[in-house]
Amino acid sequence: MARIKGKWEWYNVITDEPCSLIGRGFSFTSNNEPFIGLRIFVGAGGGVDVAYLYDDDEQGVYYMGDSEVVNSNYRTIDFGSTQQEIDDGLYDFIVRHAISRDPKTVRGKWRWNESIPATDSADLMRGCAVSFTSNDKSYDLLSIDTVDIGAGVGSTWALFYGSDTVCVGEAGSESIPISPEYREMDFGSAEQEVSHELYLYLLANATYLMPEIAEKLGRIAENEQRVYDAGYRTGYEQGEAAGVEQGKRSEYDLFWDTFQKNGDRRYYERAFADTTNGGRMWINGKNYRPKYPMKPLQAMQMYEYGYLPYEAIAAVDFSECTDFYGTFAYFSIVGTDKKFPPIDISSATRTQNMFGWCTGIKEIEEICVSETTPYSSCFAGTTNLVEVKFNGTIAQNGLNFKDCTQLSVQSIESVINHLSGTTTGLKVTFSRTAVNKAFETSEGANDGETSAEWAGLIATKSNWTIALA
């Protein structure tokens, strides 16, 4: 049995293989009404029924269905704040066709990077309500906006704490250098709900200081050393090498045997996701030291917010994995070249936000796909991606590189060259900025979409609609 909690929101469109699922024994609300079960039916002809049951006679209301009025008021379902057991099949269907909508929170101390970028986020420019202290003063609003710096000079970007203009950028610059006295913010010990925009901006441009989990993991590492030392003394006194190994390995084995189910674990949902409050929990070689090979069947948000090196990811076999929902969302590769290893997603049935907001990745060596691999917002927010190479045939809708403004000629060519030559009615999206730069007719012209080279390339796949966003 799986477990589920919190708020989930169904997608607008649900398509799946034919199935019939029904479950009770858990409770949830939708549209402020209580329900005791779910019934889901996907017909061979593609019709989908998602029904919420309010009695054991299977009476219910429909979020999506043919025989009842489809009602968007029931689009969100709330399982409450406590984990509830739910049938594996229902859980699998929910996580593949709905998005978790639990609110974002922050707490504790955060430190800005030495400079932060300007933003076109209306939410940040309007000001985000959050309580914090900085430089011995309390504030309840944080915003990034422009400020006039003088007649004839114009305006530039600045960081505001409350009504205080604390840090100002230079004229014409899109970044704001953060003064040392204002770099640290303390949001207090209690969780505060913040806007999604502020949450993402903090993750991208600030560091969470001294996380509690990292302290605890540090103590585990110290205990491991103490166990090693105790085992070594026992082995030395008794002259038994096994005693030394036992002392050294006991803490390591106990954790990883449990965490990886003695090597049998195949469902790695959020297994190595770093905390949503920021900070790095999993550190390669220190506590990220999996004992058993990993070959996930399910990798939903497996490395979300993670920060690991090339070899750590390269060691995972994703060839049989079906669920890549947010697997590497907000992930960053250790190392200056920011190169992500080859990855096999040929068995995927879901790839939404797989590399979402991976601003810490510049190159993906190879993505191995099959004709059934789906694409949905895989590269949303992956603004620093330059190189990507495909292997296999792209034959599903929705591949979207709109945020990859630095994508190289070779990468764009790789995508187009691997589009199926026989399908019809499918669409792919590129960044217009990337195409205009990559195919520009002369340096600085940014006119690539008018070039003969671009026209010649897309002419090879006239069966595809190609959008430049």
Partner: protein, 54 residues
């Protein structure tokens, strides 16, 4: 057959309900009537909803 190219006016993008673009190169089986223009603000609102992740 030459591709039909849709170019949105300033401040707008084309969409067919799934995909968005300032410039859209229609595939051989696609038609202009499948697409309509929306404002950039509406586009950003839709994308924000579609890409939300927890």
């Amino acid at each position: 057959m030459e591709r039909i190219i849709l170019r949105a006016k300033n401040g707008f993008l084309f969409t067919d309900g799934e995909v968005y673009g300032k410039t859209v190169y229609l595939g051989v089986n696609d038609k202009p009537e499948n697409w309509h223009e929306i404002s950039k603000d509406e586009y950003e609102k839709r994308v924000k909803e579609e890409e939300a992740i927890d």
